[in-house]
């Protein structure tokens, strides 16, 4: 099989793993002000404290892997999305240190809680904008970004930004429904009743908008064989949404999170259908951006051994911290 395709799949997997895993971390940060100061916030944070660092590492693999396997794409995309990416990084700084700092200095805990929430919101919004800006197209000349300073800022990219905020918040609420009990569990369930429609509406708007951005997307979705995807995809999303709603309403524990994951999975699959086989939509294909085979082959040796190992011990770490948390921590 084509090495470049394999690497595209690995990086897509890393990005998807990041979105899902750090998505619920960031979502809990977004929802943080909705929880009461004290035990409720402590349990919300305890639910992710042992795993956030590993979750975030998928972002580094996505970025680092892009540079290694598709250096041209890395070199064009990062300058094009300079401002939202720097905003994302600074947001992640606040989010990351808040996990430790808020326990260290109780007299400034309110400040670090605010930093945790603001950092999560900024990082999420910036990631959503990044996705939107990539989808709407980046101007390229030669081997470099040729657009302006504010090209990323459009109504569409703002829409994807808000859409991701709703999506991550729903993931966060689903995770808390699953992993907490008592007041924070009940509050998370109440929040999910608002967030689920918000996420579905915004996902619908993004899906309707996207085919009109570029001729390629329209072609991909509405001309045979794209119809194979176009017809079942909305039905699958609607089915998952229904199951999600029932799970929230009937008080299931893990099911709301699982069905939110399913909707995320479908959205990511739809995204892949839209842009394949480009890495910069409409401009650069994965083969044009690819590293030489000697570089891709060298990394593939490591990745094919190490990614399963990483998944193994990550699963073990989640197993160690299984079960409900409370404000008292792990029992």
């Amino acid at each position: 099989m084509d090495l470049t395709v394999v690497w595209a799949a690995i990086i897509a997997f890393a990005v998807a793993a990041y979105v899902v895993l750090d998505g619920f971390d960031l979502g809990i940060g977004i929802l943080f002000p909705a929880f009461r100061v004290g035990g409720e916030r402590d349990s919300a944070m305890n639910a992710i404290a042992p795993v956030w660092d590993g979750n975030e590492t998928w972002l580094v693999l996505g970025g680092g892997g892009l540079m290694a396997a598709f250096p041209l794409a890395y070199a064009i995309i990062l300058p094009a999305l300079y401002t939202p990416l720097i905003a994302m990084l600074l947001g992640l700084v606040f989010r990351g240190v808040a996990f430790e700092f808020r326990w260290r200095d109780p007299s400034h805990r309110a400040g670090w809680d605010a930093g945790f929430c603001a950092g999560s919101v900024i990082a999420t919004f910036a990631q959503g904008i990044t996705l939107g800006a990539l989808l709407q197209g980046i101007s390229v000349k030669g081997r470099a970004y040729a657009g302006g300073w504010w090209d990323w800022l459009t109504p569409f990219s703002l829409l994807t930004g808000f859409s991701l905020l709703a999506g991550y918040a729903l993931l966060g609420a689903g995770f808390l429904i699953w992993r907490t009990e008592g007041r924070v569990h009940r509050d998370a369930r109440r929040l999910a009743r608002f967030l689920a429609p918000a996420m579905l509406v915004s996902l619908g708007l993004v899906s309707l908008y996207t085919p009109f951005l570029e001729g390629q997307y329209w072609h991909r979705w509405f001309v045979w064989p794209g119809l194979l995807v176009t017809v079942p995809m909305p039905l699958l999303v609607a089915g998952a949404a229904l199951m999600l709603w029932r799970a929230i309403a009937r008080g299931h524990d893990a099911a709301p999170f699982v069905w939110t994951l399913a909707i995320f999975g479908l959205a990511l699959a739809g995204l892949a259908v839209s842009i394949w086989p480009d890495v910069i939509p409409g401009r650069v294909t994965i083969w044009q951006a690819a590293s030489p085979p000697v570089s891709q082959a060298f990394m593939l040796v490591g990745a094919s051994i190490l990614v399963p190992v990483i998944l193994g011990y990550t699963a073990w770490a989640y197993w160690v911290f299984r079960g409900k948390v409370s404000d008292g921590g792990y029992h």
Partner: protein, 473 residues
Amino acid sequence: MTAAETALLLARAQFAFTVSFHFLFPSFSIGLASFLAVLEGLWLKTGKDHYLDLFRYWLKIFALAFAMGVVSGIVMSYQFGTNWSVYSDRAGPIVGPLMAYEVLTAFFLEAGFLGVMLFGMQKVGRGLHFAATCMVALGTFISAFWILSVNSWMQTPVGFATNAVGQFVPAHGWLEIIFNPSFPYRLVHTVIAAYLTTALAVGGVGAWHLLHGRKTAQVRTMFSMAMWMAALVAPVQILAGDEHGLNTLAHQPAKVMAMEGHFRSHPHGAPLILFGLPDSAAETVRYAIEIPKLSSLILKHDPNAPLAGLETIPKRDRPPVAIVFWSFRIMVGIGFAMLGLGLLSLLARVRGRLYDWPWLHRLALVMGPSGFVAVIAGWVTTEVGRQPWVIYGVMRTSEAVSPIATPGVTGSLMAFVIVYFAVFAAGTLYILKLMAHAPKPQESDPARAPIRSAGITPAPAQASGAGVAEEHR
């Protein structure tokens, strides 16, 4: 200055600022992770509780330093693309895979086991917990291996060819690239520096408590372990540094000329300039205090060996001399001061006064942060000494920069400075607060340990914390 030159300068300032900040945390966490593994191992082996006390005590500090290292490190992994996109495109096929291996072998290992190390003592049992601690320590070392391989390849690039689109690609396999000529020296020198930095910080904390009359078993143990480290490892570091210098002379002579302040060639033996004010415009070192022939003796092991000066290098290929000259002296000076501290501690040990010699403790306290200064000074020496090249002799820094506009890079630089100073000042303050309390025997008692397990949060602080936070709102 043209707009492009301004943007380049700002991009360089931004990279220098973010990487220097970041570098402080791994320097501390590489050493601390190994120290923690040793402490936990000693506790399991001897069953003596004061080792567990020390483990818990330093674990809290490690957690803070590690969190700051992680978030500042994520910034680094995106800086290559945002500010140095041409470099990323051309060097990506070589340095990209090495950094990807760092993520796969080191970052995931550290991150995956960190949760268990911090929160899992009651969940997984002693043996598995110790294994997790060792994995985190191993992860920090593997991380150093890969990133120093990348950095060393940029200093002494070998084993590459240029392809049709101008990218550097491996020519004869990866081993030659990974184990490039300066890599072994740089790896040894940097890892030892991390161990010394941690030892001096631990020793400084121990000295502080000894000076305040807290001569508990915990305080004595950490001070003694730190002083052993200084006494045994500082001389090794000086030897390693000397070897590294010889390697640099062989591969990057201009850097050594700048370190030594040699503008002119010395055909009959070069003097060692101890101090002076380098003046690049006049190509001389003003008010120099020199020891004749010593530079040749150190660098060539022959007092009369000829040494070339910067006059043999075209002006556009010379590094900025004054910065390299001074940062090198700061690093070396601190290195010898560490050696002095180690020797003094041996003397105190022989006389049985290790724990009651206030002057030794004062010196150790003052030198507590010196490792961090030496690490940054050494970093500046090697990185500024590489200029004007980003890949030595192959690609200029000015060719590597992204097509970015000045307002953007100015704004982001300001944002980084403000956020980093706010966040990392707070972090440093919290670390100092933790250090100001001596490790207590209670820290080992699982029944009285904080409920948030493994001693991450002192229980009283947690209990009162909510109330205080509420008042604040």
